[in-house]
Amino acid sequence: MSLTLSDTGAAAAAPATPPRAPVLELRGICLSFPGVKALNDVALRLYPGEVHTLMGQNGAGKSTLIKVLTGVYTPDQGEILLDGRPIHPASTLDAQQLGISTVYQEVNLCPNLSVAENIFIGRYPRKWGAVDWGTMRRQAAELLKRLQIEVDVTAPLARYPLAIQQMVAISRAISVSARVLILDEPTSSLDECEVDLLFAVLRNLRAQGMAILFVTHFLDQTYAISDRITVMRNGEREGEYACSELSRLALVNKMVGAPADTGTNAADDANEAAVAPIPAGGTPFLRARGLGRKGALAPLDIDLHQGQMLGLCGLLGSGRTEAARLLFGADRADSGAIAVDGKARSFHSPRDAIAAGVGFCSEDRKHEGAILDLSVRENIALALQARGGLLRPIPLPRQQALARQYVRALGVKTASIETPIGLLSGGNQQKVLLARWLATAPKMLILDEPTRGIDVRAKQEIMDYVAALCRKGMAILFISSELPEVLRYSDRVLVMRDRKACGEYQRGALDETSVLQVIAAGEHCA
């Protein structure tokens, strides 16, 4: 029902106090997996016409809770009430038919189907009993246009980067005529502009009385959109608060469950931490000249110095990931040259790059990162082992030591280092993948959205950890959709637009707004 979208600008003001009858209510939900008590006596109330944000650290149980109330898991105890009547969704199909529409944390779409189909499959527009492709394409295109996504809706979804896939998933969810909309970290790989667009749509839906459950790790977003917040900690409900009554500091404390005062002023600490001056060495560790690939990236020059962090910023689709992949040899560059420590190198495959001491943490953890059935330990050891070659196996004790070290250092929440990574929460998987590359102690590390889906606290710690490594002499290429993060940590930022660089700036030369201007207008374009 695209009409929800049609009347943008309708009264977007949220009703001050939601009507008292909750649409959806969870009572005393308990669920345990072998070795983990994922949910313990969790309650949640969702009112029509409100945006309700669910917050908590990685592994707190947010996604699991959502999977429970959409019928993916059946709870060991507790009940789910829709309009006060108990329901027992046995499958996502049930949930949908009950009017609950969901976007899960890991994008769950079919890569082989066209974008349009991914939005409409299951409820096609029909003509004479047959699928009406024409109408479907038109409607799909309209839906996406409202989110300002200009894609060929007939192309297979797998052609597009994660962010686009994320947007498609969202459009699918909001185009269903549902009463409850659930979004699990929909914004983790989006940029400000996409987020704003999304929020506009959400406000709109809220105004029409839809109940929205929203999961995010971004405090700003929480305060920007939500009416009420439910905080979870270690699988338990810590409490439910009206957004207005809860300060950021308080919120973070409730999430981490410590009186610690980190959270808010962590930003400032980090600033001091990172500001420490860094000597830009003479010859760059890695120098790329005219590196490009037809249709993916216009020729591009990059210098990466030891002990420096180069930030790439730009909008979604600006070619950051493409650039990173070319630098890593994951895609073949069809133009340009790369020199490492002044010596010319050509990266035909990731192996070459790795051999030269480069590491690459991909943005798409599900498809390009995690090896789901392997244990945390194996996932961490893999890259190091691959570099060592199969004849020099890393002795088990050493692997375990490594795994433990990084599990501790990055605060990975896992039952043991032998649990399959697939069973970890999204954020924790991300941490493990980061650990995989840190374990190889690379001379240069490419981080593409390294903190995707990682909670406030952990994000802080991880970035500080990385910054420290950088100060110890690692060269780092940092890609993130969070402009502030990039600006805060990078020594230099390279702004990209339409798959080409449009200017490189020293730290401090730019602030958010000016970057956004560069990106938007591209005035300083070279």
């Binding site: 090896i371 890259a383 082992q385 004849l391």
Partner: protein, 366 residues
Amino acid sequence: MLAARGQRIAPSAISALSSVVARLVRHPLARPAAALALLLLLDLLLVPDFFRLTLRDGHLYGSVIDIVNRAAPLMLAALGMTLVIATRGIDISVGAVVAISGTVAAMLIGGTLTIDHGVPRYVSNMPMAWALCLAMGAALLCGAWNGLLVAGLGLQPIVATLILMVAGRGLAQLLTDGQIVTVYYQPFFFIGGGYLLGLPFALYLVAAVYIVTALLMRKTALGLFIEAVGINPVAARLAGVRTATLVFFVYLFCSACAGLAGLMISSNIKSADANNAGMLLELDAILAVTLGGTSLAGGKFSLPGGVLGALIIQTLTYTIYSLGWPPEVNMVLKSVVVFMVCLSQSPQAGRLWRRLFPRRASGGAA
């Protein structure tokens, strides 16, 4: 286990088995092992003195020996197939490779029967060692071909190996002109028919291959890489694993196993039958691997599982022969057992079973 002729040792064998099962219950191999045990139990009940082992001119003799002896080639094929499947591949050319290697060996060793004044004389064409090397070489060539098509050209495994499956047997027949090459050279028979310390020599070969492979998996990172490639090739490549090379060698290994199996088979029947040797062995091998609990979707694999699977299949075949039922029922029987074993391995089925028969749940677990 050595027992004087005629003395029964079945009970001890059973108890040994049951203890093994008891130890394995928690283990992923528990279910296939249980299935095997069940089959053997069936034999104990249905087939008169099935477990009877006697000493015959210096070696053990009995049904059990026959089974392991016959299962040897299948076990080898299963070992190779396990790794291929772990990389999300499949190799249906195993049977053809068996035919090729067997034929090459038989032809090179050959030996012809010449009769001068009614006295038969046997002569061999080529030093056996050479012949065997060449035969294995041929097998490896096949493996390289498969590997090239799959890893190099990126053809889908099933089609890539289908090519060799069709053409390979043809090549073997081309060599022999479609005749069965009979070998008249004693030493050659030892590979598939000889005995060492009372046990079939083939068994030692299998053990050797198994141990080497297992060591490779454990003592090197091969196991990790193979699983990684099987589960998520893209991620594995990005992590720096040489995916293509790995896949290539896995197919090479599979064909090597098949080649060895071919030598066993042709040596066992003292001749090479290009037309029928290893017919449908690939299917049995795949079946064995899956019965052993390795998923065809690739990833996690279990070598012992494959071996167990092979034993299950052979025991089943042998049982069918021993039961003395008309051959018409063979297939139905086989299918029923396969269904049973598969179901016994499915947790969902277990749950259903427990819901249907709550009381016997505890018993029905194994």
